[in-house]
């Protein structure tokens, strides 16, 4: 269960730190990529994968705003039937991370950072290049279901065929 949060935690850390460090100053100047990166935190999955050719409304400001207050959800459109769940503290390569995730139905509509790594400067440096890519992946991975999973070859010794079937059904 805890492991489920690790990837999300990393994304949240990276994306929110982008928002914090660069801030609104560059919001207009840095162009579509930054807007897309920040919007991954606050925008419902409906806009998955489209690198913001449309204006990104309040998504980017709310991303940095919620992270500094360490709680709360964004004011994104999908407000009905939401639930916010706090994840456990996860140890990541960049330090401990804890996030809360807001679901609307089964879709993630917001990821809020509750705890972040100490050396965030370093993680920003490492990941800044990848952030625009991450944003899109965060959005697209919220797809309703996954038919099958690709990964490095696993052997039948470690993974029985029934496991494969379970993975396929995810």
């Amino acid at each position: 269960m805890n492991k489920k949060w690790r990837g999300t935690a990393l994304f949240a850390t990276i994306l929110v730190t982008m928002g914090l460090t660069i801030g609104l100053k560059l919001y207009t100047g840095a162009g579509a990529n930054l807007a897309a990166a920040s919007s991954a935190v606050g925008v419902p999955a409906a806009s998955a994968g489209t690198p913001s050719s449309q204006p990104t409304t309040s998504a980017s400001p709310s991303a940095s705003a919620t992270s500094s207050s360490s709680s709360g959800t964004t004011s994104s459109a999908a407000a009905t039937g939401t639930a916010t769940i706090s994840g456990a503290v996860e140890q990541t390569p960049y330090g401990p991370v804890q996030v809360s995730v807001t679901f609307s139905g089964t879709k993630i509509t917001a990821v809020t950072e509750l705890q972040s790594p100490n050396d965030r400067d370093r993680s920003v440096e490492i990941n800044s290049q990848a952030a625009p890519i991450l944003a899109q992946e965060v959005l697209s991975k919220q797809s309703a279901h996954i038919d099958s999973v690709s990964g490095a070859t696993y052997t039948s010794q470690g993974y029985a065929a029934s496991v494969q079937a379970a993975i396929d059904k995810r």
């Binding site: 290049q129 996954i146 999973v149 690709s150 990964g151 065929a161």
Partner: protein, 249 residues
């Protein structure tokens, strides 16, 4: 219908979304996989590959299947400047595993298609061929797992008539060897996924790019029709080529 069977040491699942009974087609596909295992496995003393390595099988007697597999390996060995190789320094001779898995599963998919299946997905221990659609409206949503957590998806791609293979050292230790040194590929990449028209190429290219490291992404999309999605050891991601990012809802 769904079917799961272990062949060549890993589980292979078939998920057919067409109506109808494809029992025979599936059986033929798995027969072909078992044939490939008998012919190419270095763990079987009587396999063609083992006989070559014992000096009992001259090139003139090579089977057509073996020639096909060797040709794929030789081509990628040339273009990767040796990073991918079927004979590595210090190795036990010819080892066709780097080609056979993708090649054999692609052949199984072709057999299933000839048996009349139009919409299906074969997952062979994490390497996947898809045909057609998962339902009337959308392609197959294929997740790529995190190198650090099998239950976390780091990307989802919507695929139609293509294949995706992922290489990494996280499941079986350092099982990817740099063909130039014979040593474990010292990876600046944690995971490499290649999307290509056939699993034969996707599988080989994922291995080659893993051995080449981050520079391998541009090489692959320059020399082959494919797209590459990779995760670096620090967790960041890099891509090359057009990726079908938008998964269907």
């Amino acid at each position: 219908m769904r079917h799961v069977q272990t062949v060549m040491g890993f589980p292979i699942s078939v998920d057919i979304r067409d109506a109808g009974d494809f029992t025979e087609g599936v059986a033929s596909a798995f027969d072909a996989l078992s044939d490939a295992d008998r012919r190419f496995s270095s763990y079987r003393r009587d396999s063609e590959v083992s006989r070559i390595n014992r000096g009992l099988h001259p090139p003139a007697d090579y089977s057509d299947d073996l020639r096909e597999v060797l040709a794929v390996g030789a081509s990628v060995q040339r273009s990767s400047h040796g990073a991918f190789a079927l004979r590595v320094p210090g190795g036990a001779g010819l080892d066709t595993d780097g080609v056979v898995k993708g090649w054999a599963v692609q052949r199984a998919a072709d057999i299933l298609a000839r048996a009349g299946a139009h919409n299906f997905c074969i997952n062979a221990g994490g390497d996947i061929v898809v045909r057609g659609n998962a339902d009337e409206h959308s392609g197959w949503n294929i997740g790529v797992r995190s190198p650090w957590d099998a239950t976390t998806m780091i990307a989802v791609f919507s695929l139609h008539d293509e294949a995706i293979a992922t290489s990494g050292a996280y499941e079986r230790g350092d099982h990817i060897v740099d063909g130039r040194t014979g040593l474990a590929a010292h990876a600046d990449l944690a995971s490499v996924s290649v999307i290509a028209p056939s699993l034969t190429m996707a599988d080989v290219l994922a291995t080659a790019v893993f051995a080449l490291g981050a520079d391998g992404l541009e090489w692959a999309v320059h020399d082959y029709q494919c797209s590459v999605f990779a995760v670096r050891s620090d967790g960041s991601m890099i891509t090359a080529g057009p990726l079908p990012r938008e998964a269907a809802a």
